[in-house]
């Protein structure tokens, strides 16, 4: 496991445990947890609350022959079903599934200056994308409404607040303006989820924004 210095916040872990996050956030949480046993343990503690809630949820009446019908479903089911959730390369399992492959399979779209992105999912609640920043290159400065989660998959970046490397997650709220710069040495790949469209601070990116779909 990588040494992770920046961890996910409790509200997002509880939201994931309760199953009420938008799909784009679910993707980032599941990917981060795949990289961090600390986050996995914290998530499990929030799931334990869910276990207690379920145990105290009361008892609903079952259909007649409910057990028999369930046993019939089980007949012929394979036991010890192998896990389909393994990652490859720098993409942990959940990201690999959502992206439909590893970084070489990604259909990147250029944002200029060697920076590229690929939108993995977008709905009315939130969007998730992969961002590729060449080593030493800055990402366009932007601010945003709502919450933005950035998870580093390869390389590292610095912004006004700190340094972020593989497995690290940065949660930015709407008041934060930041200019991430990829460290020299290795191109940086991040998974980013936002629950509202980004607002780029420069004029050109702002014009480009509707076309980029972010």
């Amino acid at each position: 496991m990588t040494t992770i210095r920046h961890h996910i916040t409790d509200d997002l872990l509880m939201g994931y445990a309760a199953g009420i996050l938008p799909r784009a956030f679910d993707l980032v949480v599941a990917t981060h947890v795949s990289l961090s046993d600390e986050a996995r343990a914290r998530l499990s503690s929030y799931e334990a609350i869910g276990g207690a809630v379920l145990d105290d949820a009361g008892e609903a009446d079952l259909d007649s022959n409910s057990l028999e019908k369930t046993l019939a479903r089980i007949q012929g089911m394979p036991m010890r079903e192998p896990s389909h959730n393994r990652g490859r390369g720098i993409f942990p399992g959940p990201l690999y599934s959502m992206a439909g492959g590893d970084p070489d399979d990604i259909k990147w779209r250029s944002l200029g200056m060697g920076t590229k992105q690929c939108i993995l999912h977008s709905d009315k609640d939130a969007s998730a994308r992969l961002l590729y920043i060449p080593a030493g290159q800055a990402m366009p400065q932007h601010s945003h409404r709502g919450t933005e989660m950035t998870l580093v998959l390869q390389g590292a970046y610095r912004d006004e607040s700190d340094r972020f490397a593989r497995g690290d997650i940065e949660i930015a709220d709407q008041d934060m303006k930041h200019t991430p710069v990829a460290e020299a040495g290795q191109d940086c790949i991040c998974l980013i989820a936002t629950d509202a469209p980004l607002k780029f601070s420069g004029l050109l990116p702002r014009i480009a924004q509707p076309f980029l779909g972010i």
Partner: protein
């Protein structure tokens, strides 16, 4: 008192295989020896043994016992989450069938059976209501070579009991908020993770179990 609970009716009817495994696993024996063993802890140990019996022997009697306890609760949970009767029944049967199929993946040093059933139910609920497979963290597979430590498993089950107790004794308003969050009535921006619940102990315990698992895998 503990002897009485160990020999209660439920466990006698669980099926010979589950009982043998229970004795072998030492879970119940350990539980009896422990100081702060409650009736609930022993119940937990029985659920753990039954899941193990399904994984190892495809024990249908053990499954029936789990079904009797969990199926009505899973269905109630789904109805409180907004599913109608028929969808809840359908989804519940699917959840219980998944419990059967994934029994070998259950790790008692990381979750109580109730918690594990909750995660299966939550995932199926999302799959059905939102019509997509929710992104899940990578599984951590473990085989016989990395079987969970018995003492870890017992301690985790006891932590789970204490957590459930803490939730039951919360002020009504706060408990209601937690339940609403887990039934899916709140949005993520309405969640305040400051639940005031003693999660530190259970978190540290699971972290320890994960460390042991990683060590065994390498």
């Amino acid at each position: 008192m503990s002897m009485m609970l160990v020999n209660d009716h439920a466990i006698k009817t669980t099926g010979v295989l589950a009982d043998v495994h229970l004795a072998k696993s030492g879970l119940l024996r350990e539980a009896k020896r422990g100081q702060a063993v409650t009736a609930h802890d022993q119940k937990e140990a029985q659920w753990v043994a039954r899941v193990a019996a399904i994984a190892r022997d495809q024990d249908q009697k053990a499954f029936a016992e789990l079904f009797r306890h969990f199926a009505p609760r899973v269905k109630a949970f789904l109805i409180k989450s907004g599913a109608d009767q028929s969808l809840a029944e359908e989804c519940m049967q699917d959840v219980m069938a998944t419990l059967w199929r994934k029994s070998h993946l259950y790790d008692p040093s990381r979750a109580s059976v109730a918690t594990w059933v909750f995660t299966i139910a939550r995932n199926r609920k999302i799959d059905l209501l939102r019509k997509y497979a929710r992104p899940e963290p990578e599984d951590l597979p473990w085989g016989p070579e990395a079987a969970p430590d018995q003492a870890d498993a017992i301690a985790l089950q006891q932590d789970s009991t204490r957590l459930a107790e803490a939730i039951r004794t919360l002020p009504e308003k706060q408990r209601n908020l937690i339940e609403r969050a887990y039934f899916g009535d709140l949005t993520h921006s309405e969640i305040a993770a400051e639940t005031g619940l003693p999660l530190g102990t259970i978190k540290s315990r699971i972290r320890l179990a994960l460390d042991r698992l990683r060590h065994a895998m390498t």
